[in-house]
Subunit: 247 residues, 3 copies
């Protein structure tokens, strides 16, 4: 059983954070809210999303799960005007999701969850450095790095208490330093890893520019990015595996 | 003889309603205003436009006709800023249309009307159902249907006094119901027909979202859509032939 | 030695006027400001730009020159928000330009000036007609001409004290006349020349629509276009060679 009403903005933002990595996913219809975990086909990027029942206007669920095509679901939600409500109701017999937006009813065929790539276990890493930064600074770093390279290094300079971003191109380089006055918070620790810019660009699209992002970093380790959506009633964690250093 | 001054907005809107279906058309320069009738190459969609002399700042004509390439004429009118006036003058000898916009003179070569697809006779059908709806609801229905299918069914539910739109895709369906509280007016009658979405999408582009549209409908019959342009001093009628039901 | 701080808007506008014609250029780092002269590969269009030291927040230079790839430099400057400052510093040893924008450092590899197409001598022509016009009228003329032709004629009608623009297409023609009431200033003289529209379209992109443009014209002679940027602290001159009249 699943029957919920939610603002189109909230649902759309939550789905966008997952569709940055995958086209299909399994949604867990838990009693306390929706939960999605997914990993991209190359096993490089993972997402863990939860959208609490309190983020909904009304929410009833009893623990099932459904498989969805994200772009079809997002397009449907995108039919709503800003601020309009979306009514979701699962028809258990036909395995279809009924989506109602002000008189418009969309019937979405679901996908068998067993046919979707298996949900990842997101490892519990104890990463030594912790950086809290505004979303717009992630955006700036990703855009600048993209001008010169396909890779981006994220690191912490413990001596100078700096978070830095490096991208080295064939001819040009980009370097961004954010010190404690630029950062919201910094727990220094040994950290320097290289990442694929393609993944960070996709993740960046889902990061709210006016929100806080917490990065957990280590040396040649994955990065974890945490941020809130839906005014704190939803949580997104991305994990991105490092590239082997090219130099 | 043809010599007229009209706001670029009014003329542009009028031409857009015709170019939704055809690239070339014959314009009748009647004493009481412009009139255009056209049918698309597949004989599926027809348009009947009249733009009254009162919609013009000044208007003089004596009943001739000219053939025009619509996109060239629209591009020229599009050179004007919002609210600017367009001066149209026919040179009978050279068979060219002189278009003046604030010091800019465009000379448009005309097309021999006899070389343009013949103007249709738009049949006078006595359709049983009549629905008056806001343009934005047509827009919403067309966009939603387009997400799942190439076809759209329009119909009236006489029992519940509803106008409905149905689109059935391979996996997903869309259904929109507008009852008497959503509609401007409804004259119920037996009505259900399937139409090609491509045509309705093109027609929809010309329908003002904040205006009224009257639909005349029957069972397996064409639909007629009527709406006003130019603050009531222009009238557009579209007629769209039904598709044979696929089920 | 070169070390300067300038608003991103000012630097971006200056570079755009040169990149309209060439992809690489030599920038002269003069004591009193930057200077660039360049000619397109076909030797048809030339640009002469100066950006005075007073247009900078701070400016120090001692007369060297650097070769740059314009699109890479423009992309970097485009990373700045409106009103942000760009800090430029030349590293003489590595021959790299360090570009800093609020914590972001971009290292741009320079090009050997000797490998860049030689800078033109812009001839000192004594052209008989002089027209001062608003930038938006150039824009309007270029857009209208582009609808019908690849060429555009610019001329002065001495008898009627008019500046005119003519474009003749295969079927349609465009004619624009600006008389003394439309122009900011006019010094009539014998002037009529045909130009390639492609070049004028590129130059037009760099012309501020709300600024003044001075055109110097003759009969079958190049046109010179002068306008100011950076609130009068930068000057751009374009020279465009005429096409041989086709009729």
């Amino acid at each position: 059983m699943f029957n919920a009403i939610v603002s189109a903005d909230t649902l759309g933002t939550a789905l966008d954070s997952v569709s940055a990595l995958v086209e299909e996913c399994t949604i867990h219809l838990n009693e306390d809210g929706l939960a999605i975990r997914a990993v991209d086909p190359a096993n490089v990027g993972m997402v863990d999303l939860s959208l609490d029942a309190t983020a909904f206007e009304s929410y009833e669920a009893d623990g099932g799960r459904i498989g969805v095509n994200l772009s079809r679901l997002e397009d449907t939600v995108g039919m709503a005007d800003a601020g309009q409500l979306v009514h979701l109701e699962l028809d258990e017999e036909t395995r279809k999701l009924h989506i109602q937006i002000d008189g418009l009813e969309y019937t979405l065929a679901l996908i068998d969850p067993d046919s979707i790539r298996q949900e990842p276990d997101i490892p519990d890493l104890d990463l030594p450095a912790n950086v809290v930064v505004e979303g717009r600074d992630i955006n700036r770093a990703v855009k600048a790095a993209d001008m010169v390279s396909d890779h981006i290094a994220l690191g912490v300079d413990e001596a100078d208490s700096l978070f830095y971003v490096d991208a080295e191109g064939d001819t040009d380089d980009v370097h961004l330093e954010l010190d404690e006055s630029d950062l919201i918070d910094l727990t220094p620790g040994p950290a320097h890893s290289l990442f694929s810019l393609d993944y960070l660009k996709d993740m960046n699209k889902a990061i709210p520019s006016d929100g806080e992002v917490t990065l957990e970093l280590g040396e040649e380790f994955p990065v974890k990015l945490h941020f809130e959506i839906a005014e704190g009633e939803g949580q997104v964690t991305y994990m991105l595996a490092p590239r082997i250093q090219s130099d």
